[in-house]
């Protein structure tokens, strides 16, 4: 039985994120993930290396991509003997993948591995019409030509024109993610002004980070693109204020506060991080940017108890803090994924709410406020965009580099996910 080891984050790589149906509209998940993994291999000269595992996934996936990560690994210059597997936990996929690889390293099962994620809403899977699919399956089961013709005769031309399209919504409630976030903003009384202000800060911070060359060794260009194309470096609060509410029709007619500016757009992109034991990194003469020390997941009952769909991180964080024996204020950096500005603001407000912390989170007092000058200081999803499964890898690499630049410290990662789930972690140096 091995003792538990520290898990080093050696580095990360991502391709620039691109708004759906823009520059990557013809790129597949596999192409993007392969380019991202290859970039990481190139950065740390891992050609021909057999890694312990590569774990990753995509939220929107074609059925042919059942073995997406392994197929991508085979297209890189890593040893073909590197194992890989797919996972999927909605927007938590990337961070969950890192946690899985980290746990294997911590336990000594493997020495090194990559974790990542990719998503495209441009190259989305479109299924044939559901009735047509049943007929086709029935036809394939038929034993005689007569039966075959009989079932095929049930086909109607209209079926060709009403395919099954993927949708960005909760199957149980029928509401889209944005509508759920709008409901949360109403419940927590989050103002439009605060949401717009957070969005503006995200863009300005990300633009500054690019200008400072922060991402130079965290990204590789893809398809001629070298910067997230959702980023608006010249964004103004007036521009944000001019946008119309986008998710209010069903849930809060004419009272909406969420707009295209303070919500993340559908995005294409991929990211990956390289994790390793300290011994392996030292033997390969590779840097250690930070350590992944704690992680936690939580889920809320958003259906029967009508909890806010994206409030699970509010639950996950205090549980993790208790295990780590630290308080919410003991961090140098906070990386709270900005699915919607409202999600971040609801979570921060909930942690300051005495009643919520006692009744819902089972704490004896409120977690309190955080120092907002430590929040998402190099931008986050509102500016960079949010390719669902790729966001975790982006945040882990970004935070690890920030901790390495500072020399020591601690950072919190919080990511909300569809299905009322939350994935959180602590990085330290």
């Amino acid at each position: 039985m091995n003792t538990i080891r520290r898990v080093a984050i050696v580095g990360g790589n991502r391709i620039p994120f691109a708004r759906s149906n823009s520059v990557y509209s013809s790129a597949s998940n596999q192409e993007m993930l392969t380019a991202t993994l290859q970039g990481l291999v190139d950065r740390f000269n891992l050609h021909g290396e057999r890694l312990g595992d590569v774990v990753g996934g995509a939220v929107m996936k074609h059925s042919r991509d059942f073995n997406l990560v392994r197929e991508s690994v085979l297209s890189t210059t890593l040893s073909p003997q590197t194992t890989a597997f797919d996972i999927q936990q909605a927007c938590g996929t990337g961070l969950e993948a890192a946690m899985i690889v980290a746990n294997k390293i911590a336990l000594g099962h493997i020495e090194c591995g990559m974790a990542g994620g990719v998503d495209t809403t441009s190259d989305a899977p479109i299924g044939v019409n559901e009735k047509m699919r049943k007929i086709l399956l029935e036809t394939s089961r038929a034993k005689s030509t007569g039966q075959r013709l009989g079932s095929l005769a049930k086909m109607r031309p209209g079926m060709l024109f009403s395919p099954t399209l993927p949708r960005n919504g909760e199957p149980r409630t029928g509401y889209s993610m944005g509508e759920h976030a709008e409901l949360m903003a109403r419940e927590w009384n989050i103002s439009r002004e605060d949401q717009d202000a957070l969005a503006l800060k995200s863009h300005l911070n990300l633009a500054r980070a690019y200008k400072d060359g922060f991402f130079t060794d965290l990204m590789t260009p893809f398809k001629g693109v070298a910067v997230d194309n959702n980023l608006r470096a010249d964004l103004t609060i007036e521009k944000l204020r001019s946008l119309k509410p986008a998710f209010d029709k069903k849930v809060a007619p004419n009272q909406g506060t969420l707009t295209a500016g303070n919500s993340t757009p559908l995005t294409d992109g991929a990211s990956a991080v390289l994790l390793a034991s300290e011994e392996w990194a030292a033997a390969k003469n590779l840097p250690v940017l930070a350590y992944l020390s704690f992680s936690e997941v939580a889920a809320v009952d958003f259906f029967d108890k009508k909890e806010g769909l994206l409030m699970a991180p509010a639950y996950a964080v205090p549980r993790m803090l208790a295990r780590a024996g630290i308080s919410l204020q003991d961090f140098d950096f906070y990386e709270i994924h900005e699915a919607f500005a409202a999600q971040v603001l609801c979570t921060l407000k909930a942690w300051q709410d005495e009643a919520y912390c006692k009744e819902k989170l089972g704490l004896d007092k409120a977690l309190g406020a955080i120092d907002l000058s430590k929040l998402n200081i190099n931008g986050s999803s509102l500016a960079a965009g949010h390719p669902f499964a790729a966001t975790g890898g982006r945040i882990v690499a970004t935070l690890a580099k920030m901790l390495n630049q500072k020399g020591s410290g601690r950072g919190l990662i919080s990511i909300c996910a569809a299905g009322g789930q939350g994935v959180v972690a602590i990085l330290e140096k």
Partner: protein, 469 residues
Amino acid sequence: MNDSYLNFANSAVGAKLADALGLPKPIVLDRYKEGQPVIKGSLLIGGGSDAPLLPTLAKIFKSIGVQTVAPRHLPQWLPLANQAGLMSGRWGVDDQPGEKVKALVFDATGLTDSTQSDALYQFFHDAARSVLPCGRVIIFGRPPEKCANPRQATIQRALEGLTRSLAKELKRAIAVQLVYVAEGAEDQLESTVRFLLSPRSTYVSAQVIRVGLPVGAGGTPSDWNKPLAGKKVLVTGASRGIGASIAEVMVREGATVICLDVPQAQPGLNEIAAKLGATAIELDIGAADAPQKLVDAAKADGGWDVIVHNAGITRDKTIANMKERFWQMVMNVNLSTQERINDALVESGVLKSGARIVCVSSISGIAGNMGQTNYALSKAGVIGMVQSTAPVFAKHGVTINAVAPGFIETQMTAAIPFAMREAGRRMNSMSQGGLPVDVAEAIVWFANPASSGLTGNVVRVCGQSLIGA
């Protein structure tokens, strides 16, 4: 001055017809617009296994803001690029070609033997189909005449053949150049790289450029969009055509311009000067006292920084039919005058260290032309003057270079009979004539304060004319 076939071949119907009949299909060339980035699109970098220029290039690309990618054969690029603060990555994964790029740059300075040419094949074979229209290719080598041993000199000289053939093969207005950079002159490359990557060099192709140790006081401009800020530039023959365009581009680059032309050209001269806020000098430079007058004018003006010898005349006749007067006139204005003026300006010290002389030669001077014995003699003489005076003027810190225009759309070429004009226009790798501004852009590149490493160069602005190649 209007190339109507170019417009026709780029129309919907015209493009189809040109395809069907196998007619040349010139594409509309990229041209520089004030304030636009040097290059729009990625740059693919390649090199031999020994590629000593890469760190220099990384620094220049960072300064320019070029997005680079490198093929798998050049793993050393990524750390070098990152070190220079440049994001980079692999071009094409899984042995597939990557995205289309705007430029290819190959560092061949490390090639020391003809057996090492495989790296060139690999790079250009893989990338040849991936260059965007109006793309750029630059191959860097070492000047053969300065190579330590014959083998190295041989492979370096061989690069010229590759350059010229690529320029003919890649088509779609892709320009290919060879830059011989002397050892120790790496710091002098930026102005040349900027020029060659940008649309400014749109009509320059298949040229061999030598960059050597710096001559005189130069320096990096604080604003690359206004590199000539604070510089005083004399342009001769500035009243029309190429001269007017030179004056205009000089002003765009921040220079204070002095426009010179003969008294007969006064209306055009005054118009240009007024438009550009420039000073006008009416002077027949062919006159014997012209050099002294110019020295006096320059002294009164506090010295000049750049002299552009653009003024030139033609008096075409076959030599059997040519009058002696025309022979003498052309030689005097196009060559002897320039020699006298240069000597006077340099010796009197009104051209200070860091000054630039840029001459206008001609493709006729390289290839020769029927009916232009006098003109070709004078223009080949300009090349001789540039090459012979470069080392002399270098002692005073003054550089001297020449551009040699090919077929440029001007009033002068518009007067050529139709059939000959069409032949002149189409018989080059761009299948079209150049514009006066294309010549002007090459001249301002030589005039740039950062171009101290350039002297004795003759660069053709001819779209790789098939004549005189």
